[in-house]
């Protein structure tokens, strides 16, 4: 195993862990409100690694939903990970063994997907594992802290940490936009369309998860028609 690559991943996992700590903390509070204990919340966060998905899970458990409803809701809310996994599956060298792929699949979150996509050329999953160890620790710790001590984190600090996740996204999308005019337009169009979908009547009724899927399919699909990528060997 490439230790240096693992450590590089761990370093890039630090801002993710900070953001996760803040987000998971609020999840923990919600879990505590329906009387889930620290161990149950830890199990949920470790297993699901999904923010909106876990909020839904808490609501479903709290309302004693049936199995079909749980599967259907979880499926719809987390469907965007399907697209992300499709994209990542093509970023791996053909020789990467299956067990490494199965482990990588566990860590397909918005943020870990983001930094893994930003790697030049093929992705060595070791990098993602390094980032995952640090960030999953932050995610689980945040959840448990939220359950056992809902009011230890000052609001202002939590609010500042919350933004770290978006800062990371900017660090991933801005550099390619600076290098290529097409990427700059792509990013700008995506943001503008997202703004419209978040505010316009009718479309803003669509859940956030579905808005992301619809816009991604439409815009990335159009971009692939307009500017097919050149083969990179």
């Amino acid at each position: 195993m490439d230790v240096r690559l693992f450590l590089k991943g761990s370093r890039d996992g630090i801002p993710i862990a900070m953001g996760y700590l803040a987000v998971a903390f609020t999840l923990g509070i919600a879990a505590g409100n329906i009387n889930m204990d620290a161990l149950q919340s830890f199990f949920m966060s470790f297993g699901m690694l999904a923010s909106a998905g876990e909020y839904a899970a808490i609501l479903l458990i709290g309302s004693a939903a049936g199995v079909i409803e749980m599967i259907a809701t979880t499926f719809i809310i987390n469907l965007r990970y399907f697209l992300m996994s499709c994209s990542l599956s093509q970023k791996l060298e053909p020789g990467v063994p299956m067990w490494k792929r199965l482990l990588l699949a566990w860590f397909v979150t918005d943020e870990l997907f983001g930094i893994s996509s930003a790697v030049e050329g093929y992705l060595d999953p070791v990098y993602t594992y390094g980032a995952a160890v640090v960030s999953v620790a932050g995610w689980c710790l945040g959840t448990v802290l939220g359950v056992v001590a809902g009011d230890v984190l000052p609001v202002r600090l939590a609010s500042a940490m919350n933004v770290a996740l978006y800062g990371m996204f900017l660090a991933i999308i801005i550099p390619p936009a600076r290098k290529s005019r097409f990427m700059a337009i792509l990013v700008a169009v995506s943001m503008a369309a997202s703004f419209v979908f978040a505010n316009a009547p009718v479309v803003s009724e669509i859940s956030e998860g579905f808005r992301i899927i619809i816009l991604t399919v439409l815009i990335a699909g159009a971009a692939a028609f307009i500017r097919p990528i050149e083969e990179e060997g």
């Binding site: 965007r80 992300m84 299956m98 692939a224 990528i229």
Partner: protein, 103 residues
């Protein structure tokens, strides 16, 4: 307290999420040859992350001004060549300072 219903529910949902994440890796074990599909999957991350960032960043902090400051700072630091860690921390600092001024 060991609650069978809670753990049962969690296991069902954990398996559902994992199934969504793992299926593409099982289906696409080889490189896809179709140029359009390859291009589409190449653009997916940038579009998805851009869509998730804006306008959500504006409401991520306790005020729109702080969120806006984070957006501008993040873009500026990324343009100046800051790496992932530096850009992320710079947005946190921007929020913290802005909130200190206005709150």
């Amino acid at each position: 307290m060991f609650d069978k219903r809670v753990y049962g529910s969690l296991i069902v949902m954990i398996l559902t999420v994992y199934a969504i994440r793992v299926l593409p890796f099982l289906i696409f074990r080889k490189e896809i040859k179709n140029k359009w599909v390859r291009s589409f999957l190449h653009y997916v991350p940038y579009v998805t992350l851009a869509v998730m960032t804006f306008p959500a960043i504006l409401t991520a902090a306790s005020s729109v001004w702080a969120g806006g400051a984070a957006l501008v700072t993040g873009i500026a630091v990324a343009l100046l060549g800051g790496d992932l860690f530096v850009v992320a921390i710079s947005t946190c600092v921007a929020v913290f300072l802005t909130e200190m001024v206005i709150l």
